[in-house]
């Protein structure tokens, strides 16, 4: 597993750094020109830009035939799928931390505190986790040639689902507020979005695994 993660890292580390720098620059530009209604877009953009090269891993592996070769190494098909999902998740976590850092930094520099940073960042995290959850099974079914459309579709799908989920999140927030759980009410929404994202991501892993197990090379 460590070897597979290391390969993924080597495959994309340059574009990962480029995209991360790009994410910081774009967020700085949006912060400067746009109003607070764009904050959620910034959070999503930072995490999505960091995660995009990770979805390219499958394309790069397929281009050189490494997707076939890797199965001749002492790893199982399960290990390969796990490595894709774990690597993407680690990058989403890094993106979430960076996104939080960018918002905190902006609050500090601009001296105008951004409210609900955790809430905003959790919204972005959900969208990007959902994009991965949608993209991986589709990449295994349709192959790397369709990866550009799948990645784009995943991001758009994540955004629509995040908006569509607002009603359900509101409903659960009311339940949580009525419960005696010792969780600050300001954390209810981010916790719910993160939880929904995780559940979908894990469900997607099992679907992707069953697809990948039957895949022929």
């Amino acid at each position: 597993m460590r070897g597979l993660l290391l390969t993924n890292y080597y495959l994309i580390h340059r574009s990962f750094l480029t995209y991360t720098a790009l994410a910081i620059v774009i967020s700085a530009v949006i912060f400067y020109f746009a109003d607070p209604s764009f904050y959620r877009i910034i959070a999503m953009l930072i995490i999505l830009l960091m995660a995009m090269p990770v979805l390219e891993v499958i394309k790069l592996e397929s281009k050189t035939g490494y997707d076939k070769y890797v199965l001749t190494l002492p790893v199982s098909r399960k290990n390969v799928v796990q490595s894709h999902y774990v690597f993407y998740f680690l990058i989403v976590v890094s993106g979430t931390i960076l996104s939080y850092g960018v918002f905190s930094m902006y609050s500090l520099i601009s001296k105008s505190a951004v409210e609900d940073i955790v809430n905003i960042v959790a919204f972005g995290t959900f969208i990007v986790l959902f994009a991965g959850a949608l993209a991986y099974p589709l990449l295994y079914v349709f192959g790397a040639e369709k990866s550009d459309g799948i990645v784009l579709g995943g991001g758009m799908g994540g955004l629509f689902v995040a908006i569509a989920l607002q009603g359900a999140v509101g409903y659960f927030v009311e339940i949580l507020a009525a419960s005696s759980l010792p969780i600050a009410s300001s954390l209810h929404v981010p916790i719910l979005y993160t939880l929904f994202g995780m559940v979908m991501y894990i469900a997607s892993y099992f679907i992707a695994l069953s697809i990948y197990r039957k895949r022929e090379f």
Binding site: Y10, L11, Y66
Partner: protein
């Protein structure tokens, strides 16, 4: 001693297209099995079926006596594979590749890997996508030879190499089987390579194995007879391996030259002629 690889009666179809038909052969310890066939004969499909990269319609594949490569990935510690293209992550350097394989193989031998890299004169810090085909194939072979594998599966691994590099690689392969515990399945278009190092021959045509024999026995017992239709009809059917009709005669590969009628005209048999007769045969 158990065969390193035992392929029994495997069949595979893609839709209506029957690609492998009842394919059987084995790789005993200490042997190099030359796997010969034209493009599209089923060599690469056989490799994929052996490695579990495609499903089989029927038949069994035992590696080191076990038929569960997809369930027990640790068996692959002892298998080295080279396909007909580079198939390694090309944006990595050799140094990065070494780190990756060190994590993947318990038995990765870093010293041996770098010995091979230096002996093949490959640059350690350049990305693999800058390598020529010959350099890439050498690198793939260096990987396959660097984790103390017992079985090498080489699909057209010597293709694209210049004669001197091929010689160097064939020497490495001969050294690999010299301990008599290891074995190689080597598919190649380059008949001279097979002739030089193979101890067994498997010839496949249209997904069917036409010949599966020890090379020494083939050259000792087999013969190419030149005859007409009448003479052919008189031959015992079980010794006719393949035949090819020419303008005025038929060339017949027989598995036991001692069963040929007296004064039957035979041709000197080289590896090249044997291969051409089998791959172009009518049977």
């Amino acid at each position: 001693m158990t065969n390193l690889l035992e392929v029994r009666n495997i069949a595979k179809s893609f839709g209506q297209n029957e690609v492998l038909k009842d394919v059987s052969f084995h790789v005993p310890p200490g042997s190099i099995v030359g796997f010969i066939g034209d493009n599209g004969a089923g060599k690469s499909t056989t490799f994929k079926a052996v490695l579990g990269l495609i499903s089989r319609d029927s038949g069994t594949v035992e590696i080191f006596g076990e038929d569960n490569l997809n369930k027990n990935a640790t068996i692959k510690e002892d298998i080295g594979v080279v396909f007909d293209a580079i198939n390694l992550p090309v944006s990595l350097t050799i140094k990065q590749l070494n780190k990756v394989f060190k994590s993947l193989f318990n038995s990765w031998d870093e010293a041996d890997f770098y010995r091979l890299i230096r002996s093949f004169s490959l640059p350690e810090d350049k990305k693999i996508h800058t390598f020529s085909r010959g350099m890439s194939m050498k690198l793939s072979l260096a990987v396959a030879l660097s984790h103390r594998a017992k079985l090498l599966l080489l699909d057209e691994a010597t293709g694209g190499l210049d004669p001197s590099s091929r010689e160097q690689i064939l020497d490495e392969l001969k050294a690999f089987v010299s301990d008599s515990n290891s074995g190689i399945l080597l598919s190649s278009h380059i008949i001279s390579d097979v002739e030089k190092i193979a101890s067994h021959l498997v010839v496949i045509k249209n997904g069917e194995v036409l010949l599966n024999e020890e090379k020494e026995k083939v050259f000792r017992e087999y013969a190419i007879a030149v005859m007409n239709e009448e003479q052919l009809n008189l031959l015992p059917e079980d010794i006719v391996v393949a035949k090819r009709t020419y303008d005025k005669s038929i060339r017949v590969l027989v598995s036991d030259k001692h069963q040929l009628p007296d004064r039957t005209l035979t041709e000197p048999m080289s590896m090249e002629e044997l291969s051409v007769l089998l791959t172009r045969s009518e049977r």
